[in-house]
């Protein structure tokens, strides 16, 4: 039952791989023509550390990060709840599926970026627009996965719960919902990265703070180092969030994980 948490071999590979990446980057930006356009890793890391105490625009880097993080988490959180409700409704009720599925299928392929102008038109350039844009990206992914999950609930389990005298309400909370959980988590993983994508896009248009604004600012002032600092921060935080999600998933869906 006990899982191996720490694998020294894997950790060594990871460290070596990242080190190789930085060495290659440094090599390219020191000895090849790439150096004329691209800053070397040392310059980027220097600016990264400086930005912890020297504000860029109105805030230091952690400030920008928190602003983006809040936008992502609010949009993603609200969208996840709504997506689960709609997805399971479509997966379990023929009526809900008949009404919402066509609309949903039509809206699904439209990427969140395509919504920017319309959302700004309706909600202005304030925080609401940012939340909505993050939410749109998350919503479609979560809804679709919850829908698939709800459709694939084993009818024998539902019948079995009925035989045991379980009420329809309890069947929803104790059979349908837990059956969908792994699928919902798969959707949430994708949704989280889509939300990040959406927040950056939203912040590049009409924002005064946030990671997206930082990158845009770097681009406007031809400060490629700043652009790369923004990219690194986003990469790190994205990785952390995905790891956190996986940890939660492991806790909630331990029943679904096979040995090995």
């Amino acid at each position: 039952m006990k899982k191996k948490r720490f694998d020294p071999e894997k950790t060594i590979y990871a460290v070596v791989a990242i080190a190789c990446f930085f060495v290659l980057w440094w090599f390219l930006t020191t000895f090849t023509p790439v150096k004329n356009t691209t800053p070397d890793p040392i310059a980027v890391l220097k600016l990264l550390f400086e930005s912890f105490y020297t504000p860029i625009g109105s805030k230091v880097i952690t400030g920008h990060l928190l602003v983006s993080l809040r936008r992502v988490l609010v949009g993603f959180g609200v969208a996840t709840v709504l997506g689960i409700i709609l997805g399971i409704a479509m997966g379990t009720s023929k009526w809900a599926s008949a009404i919402f599925k066509p609309i949903f299928e039509l809206l699904r392929p439209i990427p969140p970026i395509a919504w920017i102008s319309l959302v700004i038109l309706f909600f202005g350039i304030g925080e609401t627009s940012k939340y909505i844009l993050c939410g749109i990206g998350a919503f479609t992914n979560v809804t679709l996965n919850a829908y698939t999950g709800a459709q694939n609930v084993d009818p024998e389990l539902v019948g079995c719960a009925r035989m045991l005298g379980t009420s329809e309400r309890d069947i929803f909370f104790r059979v349908v919902l837990p059956s969908c959980t792994p699928q919902i988590f798969a959707g949430m993983q994708v949704a989280l990265s889509t939300s990040w994508m959406a927040v950056l896009a939203a912040e590049m248009v009409g924002a005064q703070e946030g990671c997206g604004w930082m990158i845009q600012r770097g681009s406007d002032t031809l400060n490629i180092t700043l652009v790369m600092v923004g990219m690194i921060v986003i990469g790190l935080v994205g990785m952390l969030l995905a790891t956190l999600m996986r940890a939660i998933e492991r806790r909630l869906c331990s029943w679904n994980i096979m040995e090995g």
Binding site: G159, C160, A161, M163, L164, S167, R174, C253, W255, E259
Partner: protein, 258 residues
């Protein structure tokens, strides 16, 4: 101790001229034709029939998961119209809740019916011990072997305290050795906690080992072909000449069915 369809007793399960026909646009598929059957309290009845006959349909009709096209199914004097906790089902596929631990599965029924936590835990623990799974209370089904999963299925059905137990080829998916072990185990459990059981199988050895009465069914549309009472003392011995004689009888009856 055993009731062999006594005349003066009211049956706990009664099927009265039950038929089941599936209708679709192009054809009708008659699965069960005019089956009448009474099962007495604490009787172990085995429905024995060839592979694709309507055995599972019969179980579903008693369970209330399907309704008869004509005729009536009664359990404990009440007409069956829907699934309900007075009938416990043990499935061939086990149908355990994969997201519940062994304890979670066994106490699922009592929890649904609002039995207080302490009481249902004690009860669930009793049946977990009875099926020999103590120490596995916190395991999830995907960590258990096929035989252990089916033990959970049996404990889950028992813990909900049903009037009758319906077992649909519960050992059908198990390998031969585990199957013998589970048959012995079920016999012991049933001796200790007597219930009315309707057990479906297509294995004559299993039928003779477990049954008070064997109902031999025909191919679809399923009718009752023959009925054999098994009066051998329990626990039975697979190689006992009397045991083998009953198996031979069953096979003879089935041969001219096909």
């Amino acid at each position: 101790m055993e009731h062999h369809g006594g005349v003066n007793k009211t049956p706990i399960i009664s099927l009265d001229h039950v038929s089941k026909t599936y209708l679709s646009v192009h054809k009708t598929n008659e699965v069960v034709r005019d089956v009448s059957l009474d099962v007495q309290e604490n009787e172990f009845v085995v429905l024995f029939g060839p592979g694709q006959c309507g055995k599972t349909t019969l179980i579903n009709l008693i369970a209330g998961l399907q309704l008869p096209t004509s005729g009536e199914v009664k359990v404990d004097g009440k007409t069956v119209t829907a699934p309900g906790p007075d009938r416990g089902v043990v499935y061939q596929t086990t149908a355990l809740f994969p997201f519940c631990t062994v304890m979670g599965n066994v106490e699922f029924g009592p929890k649904s019916r609002g039995v207080p936590k302490k009481q249902r835990r004690e009860r669930a623990q009793y049946f977990i011990d009875l099926v020999g799974l103590q120490g596995f209370e916190k395991s999830f089904p995907n960590r258990l072997s096929g035989g252990m999963r089916q033990r959970v299925g049996i404990a889950r059905a028992y813990a909900n305290d049903p009037k009758v137990m319906l077992m649909d080829e519960p050992f059908g998916h198990l390998d031969a050795q585990t199957r013998y072990m589970m048959e012995e185990e079920l016999e012991k459990i049933w001796q200790k906690e007597k219930r009315t059981v309707v057990f479906v199988t297509n294995n004559s050895e299993e039928a003779v080992y477990l049954a008070d009465r064997i109902i031999i069914l025909t191919n679809t549309p399923t009718r009752i072909k023959h009925e054999i009472k098994v009066d051998l003392p329990r626990p039975r011995v697979y190689s006992d000449p009397a045991f083998l004689e009953i198996r031979r009888q069953i096979e003879e009856i089935c041969d001219d069915t096909l």
